[in-house]
Amino acid sequence: MIVVDTLAALILVVLAWRCLLLTDLFRSIVLFIVFGLLMALAWARLDAPDLALAEAAIGAGLLGVLLLGTWRAMGSPDGDHRQPGRALQVIAAGGGMVLAVLVGIALHQLPVSEQAAGALALERLDEAATQQPVTAVLLNFRSYDTLLEMGVLLMALLGTWLARVPLMESLSGDDASRGTELLPVALRVFVPVMLLVGAYLIWAGTHSPGGAFQGGAVLAAAGVLLALAGRLRGDTGDSLPLRMLLVLGLTVFSLAGLLLIPLQGAFMAYPPTLIYPVMLIVEYSLAVSIAITLVLLYTGSRGLRRGPA
């Protein structure tokens, strides 16, 4: 399998190289999407199925739609032909090469530590009531990270709202809903399947690869598909229920941590009998918030409304 790995690593680098140095912006973006798909393959080869799932849905899917949407909203520019000064190019090339060599040497000489945090996590997996180490780390051992990450997601959404150039508004309205006859059929077939897969992935996170991030990303992809087909429109009006769903993950996660303090005496420590149900509730609320945040990051709007069917 060394051949597969070598090929994958080589193609990754070549794709990144082409993607960054082509002047044609559209081709760069397409290459970046392919790069994302290949990253997903690399994650799978590196024993990281969780990352492969997330990358395929987010890195290759959502990010590609976002990039292409922005490219079109900017009036399909073919790229920037301004060239930076020769000196700057040389310095950047030299700096990049030195950085790459140093990172390469560091990665090959790094000693293996027996006392890594992950070793402890693997050892005490039973206490997290799940056999899936990544979920245990995300929702239990290092739940602060996940909690704060939800905050970062909301910050990004607030920033997007402040910049206030909704992607869907800059695309003409008819354009979005004008599809081929295949589109309604595709929507009817794909959207329910995507919702099902998303919900399954969130539940699967408790015992096998999957979880709130992967599931939420698949749900968001279903939402973006509906938005692309014009069934879901960005709306300028605020809606309280939607805002409540946006903060649902953060609220439920914090509440679960706070309310159980009397039982365990520490923030975000769960009593062993309650871990499984608490984890499931937290996972689903996180996924709902992640999915809606990602869809709104795509539309750039404050609200959502149904488009013409």
Binding site: D5, A9, L10, L12, V13, A16, L20, L21, S28, I29, F32, F35, W43, L46, D50, L51, E55, I58, L63, L66, L67, T70, M74, G79, P84, L88, A93, G95, G96, M97, A100, V101, V103, G104, L107, H108, L110, V112, A117, G118, A119, A121, L122, P133, V134, V137, L138, R142, D145, E149, L153, A156, V165, S170, G211, I290, T293, L294, L297, G300
Partner: protein
């Protein structure tokens, strides 16, 4: 692992170098966002390469970090893209 070359470690190093180069050399804001993402993916790859070396299975902590990192990267990129669109619109307004 120490004996041979790890191809993914080499790829991670190359992606970090390429991302850095692209970030400085490219003038178009969309290209710069792509460069930041390539750089980020290089860092993720480096973390997972390290995670794989833990005896007794891949280290779940870097995996969790990269998983949150992927979601943070996409949201930060979405924010960046919103800024790019705003800049493009403002420049359009100046021309008229």
């Amino acid at each position: 692992m120490m004996a041979g070359l790890d191809v993914y470690a080499l790829a991670a190093a190359a992606l970090i170098g390429l991302g850095f180069f692209g970030l400085i050399v490219q003038m178009h804001p969309l290209k710069r966002l792509l460069a930041v993402n390539v750089l980020g993916n290089g860092v993720f790859l480096a973390l997972i390469v390290i995670a794989r070396r833990l005896p007794g299975g891949p280290d779940p902590v870097p995996h969790a970090m990269v998983l949150t990192g992927i979601v943070i990267a996409v949201s930060a990129t979405a924010f960046g893209l919103a800024l790019v669109r705003r800049q493009a619109r403002d420049e359009e307004g100046d021309d008229e």
